[in-house]
């Protein structure tokens, strides 16, 4: 294939180059749309001192929670955390730095990071603990704070389908933070359910163009559900 073929065949290759103290941007919302195999690989590698930006931090035995027992995460930037006991313990003990960020600000920070926008003003967080130490400015009669963008040494992303060139399609609400994360990594690694040949995806329906993707791997997903909620048929 061509120089645009992003497919790798092993998780070792997928995460090669990840080193201690790097920053990782991760897609996913709760356990929905998370790159399960890439997280497992980081656990296996035992990389330490990571700063992780992700909306959540998984549960005790799944998702990013897997990186907690061996203290691989030094700092987490997230909007909602603490769905697991080990996280709580490490946070309370001061072993884990937690930077809480409003969900929309976090999403926009990742987008801005990928888009060459170093900082933007937002009304979110004005007058709250989030505003501490940040510039506040009144623009056209309303108060805003200045938020800086986020980028990572690595971005780990979960998509539904991809072609070999790294063009991505997401499915349902498993899209969530994944498209922004994909733009914000120096090296962006994507784990997908299905890889097709270039030309098989409708160019109009591609959610993330392959230019953002460095490595692509086909994964097997457990897709655990956090809140299984049903109605009677």
């Amino acid at each position: 294939m061509s120089g645009f073929d992003k497919v790798v065949t092993s998780y070792e290759e997928a995460m090669a180059g990840l080193e201690d103290n790097m920053t990782v941007i991760a897609g996913g919302f709760g356990l929905c749309g998370i790159p399960e195999g890439l997280i497992a690989q980081i656990q296996k590698m035992g990389t330490k001192g990571l700063t992780v930006a992700s909306n959540n931090c998984g549960v005790d035995d799944f998702g990013l929670g897997l990186l907690l027992p061996n203290r691989q995460i030094k700092k987490i930037i997230a909007s909602y955390v603490g769905e697991n006991a080990e996280f709580e313990r490490q946070m309370m003990a001061g072993e884990l730095e937690v930077q809480l960020t409003p969900q929309g600000t976090l999403a926009e920070q990742m987008r801005a990071g990928g888009a060459g926008i170093p900082a933007f003003f937002t009304a979110t967080g004005v007058g709250t603990p989030v505003a501490e130490g940040k510039e506040e400015r009144n623009i056209n009669g309303r108060d805003y704070i200045l938020e800086e963008s986020l980028t990572g040494d690595f971005a780990i992303v979960k998509a539904w389908k991809a072609d070999r060139y790294g063009n991505l399609v997401f499915r349902h609400t498993a899209r969530n933070f994944n498209p922004m994360a994909a733009t914000a990594g120096k090296i962006t690694v994507v784990e997908v359910e299905e890889i097709v040949e270039p030309g098989e995806l409708d160019p109009n329906e591609i959610h993330t163009p392959g230019i953002y993707v460095n490595r692509l791997i086909k994964g097997n997903f457990e897709k655990r559900i956090e809140q299984r909620t049903v109605r009677s048929a």
């Binding site: 919302f29 929905c32 809140q227």
Partner: protein, 218 residues
């Protein structure tokens, strides 16, 4: 009698209009979806990337790729659309959602809201709440008027760290429907069987009481 959770939801539902795009927070707000008036359609926004949230799935319909902001499995309504989180919050923060309903620990006479953090307790985070209160023009806060111990949650100044500054104009409690303007609470309606006196006693912030305070029609 203080309103039940279902009655709170019913009263909020009276504020809906046909064609409204609505974001409902976790808890009581979620129940509002059950009381959309007959012949009216609203579309529910779920901030994890879904506009047009449907009911919970049947066993057969469950799809791990389709959840709401509370991480519950859901379905899509007719005419739904899916998008990423940045787009979802662009929608919210750009003021495109017609009505946002969410809970709180405290609100005050200046429209401040505290809803995500009790210092000393475990802090789980604000999720999308700070974006929702900063982005929406039309917000209804639902909560109990006072704690179990009779401590008012409608204050002169919020005591807890804020979720948003000066952004709340309407509060529905189990006792009263209250508007916030010009640095004061204004009593609009009282729950059936609840006296104005009871409300005054449980409201710590300055409360303006008109001559006639109608009972809610639920």
């Amino acid at each position: 009698m203080a309103l039940t959770r279902e009655q709170l939801a019913k009263r909020v539902a009276q504020e809906l209009q046909d064609g409204y795009y609505v974001n409902l927070g976790i808890g009581i707000p979620t129940l509002v979806a059950n009381y959309v008036p007959e012949g009216m359609e609203v579309m529910l926004q779920s901030e994890n990337g879904l506009l047009g949230m449907g009911q919970f799935p049947t066993e057969d319909e469950i799809d791990a790729d389709l959840i709401n902001a509370g991480k519950q499995t859901v379905t899509m309504a007719k005419g739904a659309s899916l998008f990423d989180s940045a787009t979802s919050f662009a929608m919210i923060r750009g003021g495109h959602v017609d009505l946002t309903v969410l809970g709180a620990f405290e609100v005050d006479v200046n429209g401040n809201i505290a809803s995500y953090m009790i210092p000393g307790k475990l802090i789980k985070g604000m999720g999308g709440a700070m974006d929702l209160v900063a982005g929406a023009d039309n917000i209804i806060v639902t909560m109990t008027h006072a704690s179990k111990h009779g401590v008012s949650k409608l204050l002169s100044n919020c005591s807890l760290p804020l979720t948003g500054r000066g952004c709340i104009k309407k509060v529905l409690t189990d006792l009263a429907y209250i508007e916030i303007k010009e640095g004061k609470f204004h009593l609009l309606e009282r729950a059936p069987g609840v006296s104005v006196q009871q409300i005054i006693e449980l409201t710590a912030g300055e409360l303006v009481v008109p001559e006639n305070v109608p009972e809610m029609n639920i």
